[in-house]
Amino acid sequence: MGKEKIKICDEFYDIMPPEYRELVDSATYGKEGRGWKDVGIAKELIEEHSLCAGCPESIAFRYVMACLPNPEDTVMVGSTGCTSLVFPHVAVHNIHSLFGNQNAVASGLKRALAYRFPGKVKDVVVLAGDGATVDIGLDMTLQSWFRQEKFLTICFDNELYANTGGQESGLMQKGFVSKMAPAGKKFDKVRLPEIAEESGCHYVATLTVSKPNRVEKAIRQGILIAREVGPTYIQLYTPCILEIGKQAMEGLQEMRDSEGPNERFAFKEYISEEAKAYLASLEKEKKPAAIPSQA
């Protein structure tokens, strides 16, 4: 697979846009062990974006793109929000249809791909904000898990509706004052990771994007388990520095401050027994040379 599909006919090479030539010449497609370290080297890992300067979501988006194990056969589904401004720069097929229906669209998409390409790996990854995942789209998020739809759902949790200017969301902390929560939010942050576990997700992780190795491992596990076992969910803290009154350089510190042992985004990971067995089988496959020959 790899870059075979994106090769340019020699006669047309010089008239293709430079972005496309770059994609063919130096994309990470087909590269074994691609990961966050490719960010900044490969142009298709979102060299330019249209988010605010210093936005933690922009680096989170790059990590997600860099950590797809199979980008040449991955389709991403997004939703309305700041992510819809980055999707135009993404070099995999992506769908943005309406607000909140991303897990429903992904359900239909994944089933269509599974039906049309039996025996071929086709990954679907949902990427949406907390408003789309937990508020307007909560029924579709949960029902896709109940149905055991085989795709990864990533929530960029910035604890408010950032794109529309900082209104209250279900994942906002209790007491936080925001637009539409003028006296402070009245109820607790919705415990979606726990709900995800109860709803049938086989892998659930909560973390910030301050530690790229950790993000890379979570994303890869989320996708691989979803491919073979069942639905997976990752909640990433991507603070909207603009709406919480931080400077462009303060996003990283904000994430570090929020991931302490007793903080909202302390690293948490749940892996179902089935998923553990699957991950163990992958490890075994990886090291066939280590098993001494009995012959």
Binding site: K5, I6, E19, L23, S50, E72, D73, T74, V75, V77, S84, L85, F87, P88, H89, V90, A91, V92, H93, N94, I95, H96, S97, L98, N101, A104, V105, A106, S107, G108, L109, K110, R111, A112, L113, A114, Y115, R116, F117, K122, D139, M140, Q143, R147
Partner: protein, 399 residues
């Protein structure tokens, strides 16, 4: 057409894939006596549908459930129940984005709950086929037929065909896929029937053999990229297409809506050939005409018979497609009429509005009779309306 390569082959279910023209016009047919819901099942059995998503709401639940039986029998690739109509139509969108031939059904309040998806389907050029079995929209609670919801989906960018009978329902479901999937059309299509009147009553229907089927959908004939990564990745909305950031994206936005409407108009040539014109006329040289669609036409026909017994000659124009709307055909068919009655199963009279908008001297249009909220429309009601106007007992209100 690439689909020719599969014609004559046998599908997973053992059906022979045949040329659509053969299935529609030449294949031997046998007479069956069945409900509209059962007719939906028989159409989908022959339609090579990849994915169907279902949700219960009367009166379409029965047909949606029967498509589930087809899935168990192996005629439909995948099938499941969504969590609401909004979700179902989103799931259908995902499946269609992924290159599948998709079928679903809806009714009344469900159609409205699903509504946000319809312009998105059209704007995304997804050739999903949806069978709309119209019913009353709450409140007060009512499950009886009412075409109010149909007036609301007229301008979503979908093709809309309104079947009068179970036979038309069968033919429109199959032919609808072929027109909707043409590369110069490639739009969603609503095949509409009046709930209960067609869905739950038995009718004689001529059906081709179950061992033949339409060629499968070929997603690579789509005018927009199929979301399967089998073709080189595209930056779908580069230079943020969603934002009017520069002249090119502004021009794209402005022209895209026009292109959807143009694609609806381009469907005429395919539709006219397959369903024999966008309208049907009977005695349209008469000075009094009834113009309508769906089962209002059937009631109109009976009214004509009753009026003929009294020596009053009335003709009828049946509108088969609401999108594209047959402007020119209706203008021609009504050119000699002095009075044009538009009986409708709804309170607002959207069909009369549509007709008034396209014909000259539209004071000739009598907006009615209307029944609403699931009331039946006995032919006598139409007769009475016509006689009242002729006797000058009913004031014709224009506007």
């Amino acid at each position: 057409m690439e689909a020719n390569s599969v014609i004559g082959t046998i599908n997973k279910k053992g059906q022979k894939i045949v040329d659509p023209e053969y299935l529609f016009f030449e294949a031997p047919r046998q007479q069956h006596f069945m409900t509209g819901s059962e007719v939906v099942r028989e159409a989908i059995r022959r339609a090579s549908v990849d994915i169907s998503v279902a949700y219960p709401i009367t009166p379409q639940s029965e047909a949606a459930a029967m498509v589930g039986d087809l899935y168990v029998e192996g005629y439909v690739g995948d099938y499941f129940r969504g969590e609401s109509e909004f979700a179902v139509m989103s799931q259908c969108a995902g499946a269609s984005f992924g290159g599948a031939r998709v079928f679903t059904t809806t009714s009344g309040p469900g159609t409205l709950r699903a509504y946000e998806n319809f312009p998105m389907w059209a704007g995304s050029r997804l050739p999903i086929l949806i069978n709309v079995m119209v019913r009353g929209i709450n409140s007060p609670l009512n499950i009886q037929p009412d075409t109010l919801e149909l007036g609301m989906i007229l301008d979503t960018g979908m093709l809309i065909w309104h079947a009068e009978t179970a036979q038309e329902l069968l033919d429109y479901l199959l032919k609808g896929y072929i027109v909707a999937e043409e590369p110069d059309v490639h739009l969603p299509i609503a095949i509409v029937i009046d709930g209960f009147f067609v869905s739950h009553t038995k009718d004689m229907v001529m059906i081709p053999s179950a061992d033949i089927a339409l060629p499968p959908y070929n997603p690579y004939r789509s005018p927009v990229p199929c979301m399967d990564m089998e073709v080189p990745p595209v930056r779908m909305m580069r230079d943020p297409f969603v934002m009017k950031s520069n002249y090119i994206s502004y021009a794209t936005h402005a022209s895209w809506q026009q292109e959807i409407r143009a694609a609806i108009e381009r469907s005429r040539k395919h539709t006219i050939r397959l369903i024999g014109g966008l309208i049907e006329e009977e005695n349209s040289d008469a000075e009094i005409l009834i113009v309508s669609s769906g089962t209002a036409v059937a009631q109109g026909r009976e009214a004509i018979r009753l009026l003929a017994e009294e020596g009053i000659r009335v003709g009828i124009v049946k509108v088969k497609t609401l999108r594209p709307f047959p402007h020119e055909e209706i203008r021609q068919a009504t050119k000699n009429a002095k009075l044009i009655f538009v009986p409708e199963f709804n309170v607002v009279g959207w069909m009369a509005r549509e007709i008034k908008a396209v014909i000259p001297d539209n004071h000739r249009v009598i907006d009615g009779p209307h029944v609403a909220g699931g009331m039946t429309m006995p032919p006598e009601v139409i007769v009475e309306e016509i006689k009242k106007v002729l006797a000058g007992k009913k004031e014709v209100v224009h506007g």
